[in-house]
Symmetry: C2
Subunit: 218 residues, 2 copies
DNA sequence: TCCCTTTCTCGTACGCTGTACTGAAAATAG
DNA sequence: CTATTTTCAGTACAGCGTACGAGAAAGGGA
């Protein structure tokens, strides 16, 4: 068996090299030629292992999902969802290109499905129906991606957006913005745990309520 | 005054043509050369009106923000935030490339600041401090973008991801996923209003609570 | 009127991208 | 050995963003 010339590399080597590149220099540095030279191959040889670049990105996303530690399902949905969200955030902080690569990407591999499975298990005690659970999971994932994106972007404020904002504040057209920016002193830092707690608790508690419009009768 | 050769076009024409292209054929169709031929100019002439393509995307994002109808601030934060979220969603559905163009894009123009200003005004009755308000607004915006992205992606399910999921379900490794997908019958549709209501109500009510860890003592 | 300065136009060109094509190389099967 | 099958990788092509620079078109000053 195994006829024909044996492969000099593996698909995993290609994906790993791509991830290493993205981690070090960002998604834009991930090009077919760069990856090829990185693993010591000709550019076109990569197409033996990967159909095209878009699928390569799918594989990258799924591969980094392997790093996620297995979360123990305690049975308390709040604890479990928080742990899952924290794991997702850690993954995105370790691979800052992930939030950018995630949208418009299809559900791609078993690792992503595994995350979905765990989230469904965490939501089991709520007694919600399947579609609602799925919706909640998508929402929480979106929250985390959005939070981390802001977190990364806020770490490197551009000088020009500072100029835009200060000019806007000085113009007087944005009074609420001006006061919001000047009221700096606050007690607690808006840590991820605090905000994620709001989102998860608020979202699920709202969803659990028997009828959506019963807020006043309780 | 007005020395030198007069411009044959305007920056607005360039941005409008780019938006028209993105609406019709997606973000990938927005190239300098395409826009140039669209408005009957040489490719390099665009650089008179726009410094580079990245700034052009900034301008596109800010320009479509002009379409947002002015929301009346009623003073009830729930009503106002829901109206703002609905307006955002309508904008994204009208310009499906918007959610994809939005992330890693800096706060860019007065329309975006105007949206921020209105959101801050809507959150005024909550009595929250400035940074927390900002955080909540970013979260709600991220939620809407995430929801619309899913909404658009779900409208066109790929045959291969269907195959992946059915195979995964058949493998038996994902029991919760299997039951979640099979439990189809539910009463209410997960409409945007329902889900956005959960997110906004849950999020703000959680944020308003005096101390984050007082959930058990109330 | 002629010329200078300023501004916009746009053809050419460079380096980069993803990838189709093609023939050589390297393995096994007979 | 030859035939078959598979991978390797060089070449090539269309397309991208955009740097450069020559020409065109306006106003201002002589």
């Amino acid at each position: 068996m195994a006829r024909g010339r044996p492969p000099a590399h593996t698909r995993e080597q290609v994906v790993d090299a791509a991830i290493r590149l993205a981690d070090a220099e960002g998604l834009a540095a991930v090009t077919i030629r760069r990856i090829a030279t990185e693993i010591g191959a000709g550019a076109m040889s990569l197409y033996t292992y990967v159909p095209d670049k878009d699928r390569l990105l799918d594989l990258m996303v799924d591969k980094v999902g392997e790093e996620t530690p297995k979360i123990n399902i305690t049975g308390d949905w709040r604890t479990d969802l928080m742990a899952l969200a924290a794991a997702q955030r850690a993954l995105m902080l370790a691979h800052p290109w992930l939030p950018a690569a995630l949208p418009n990407r299809r559900l791609t591999g078993r690792n992503m499905l595994g995350y979905l499975e765990q989230s469904l298990a965490a939501l089991e005690p709520t007694g919600l129906d399947g579609p609602t659970k799925m919706e909640l999971i998508a929402l929480v994932t979106g929250f985390v991606a959005s939070y981390v994106t802001n977190e990364i972007a806020a770490a490197t404020p551009t000088s020009e957006q500072v100029a835009l904002i200060t000019e806007a504040v000085a113009s007087g057209d944005f009074p609420h913005l001006a006061t919001a920016l000047s009221s700096g002193a606050r007690g607690t830092e808006p840590s991820f745990e605090r905000i994620a707690g709001w989102a998860i608790t608020g979202l699920v508690e709202q969803a659990i309520r028997p009828k959506p419009s019963d807020r006043s009768s309780s």
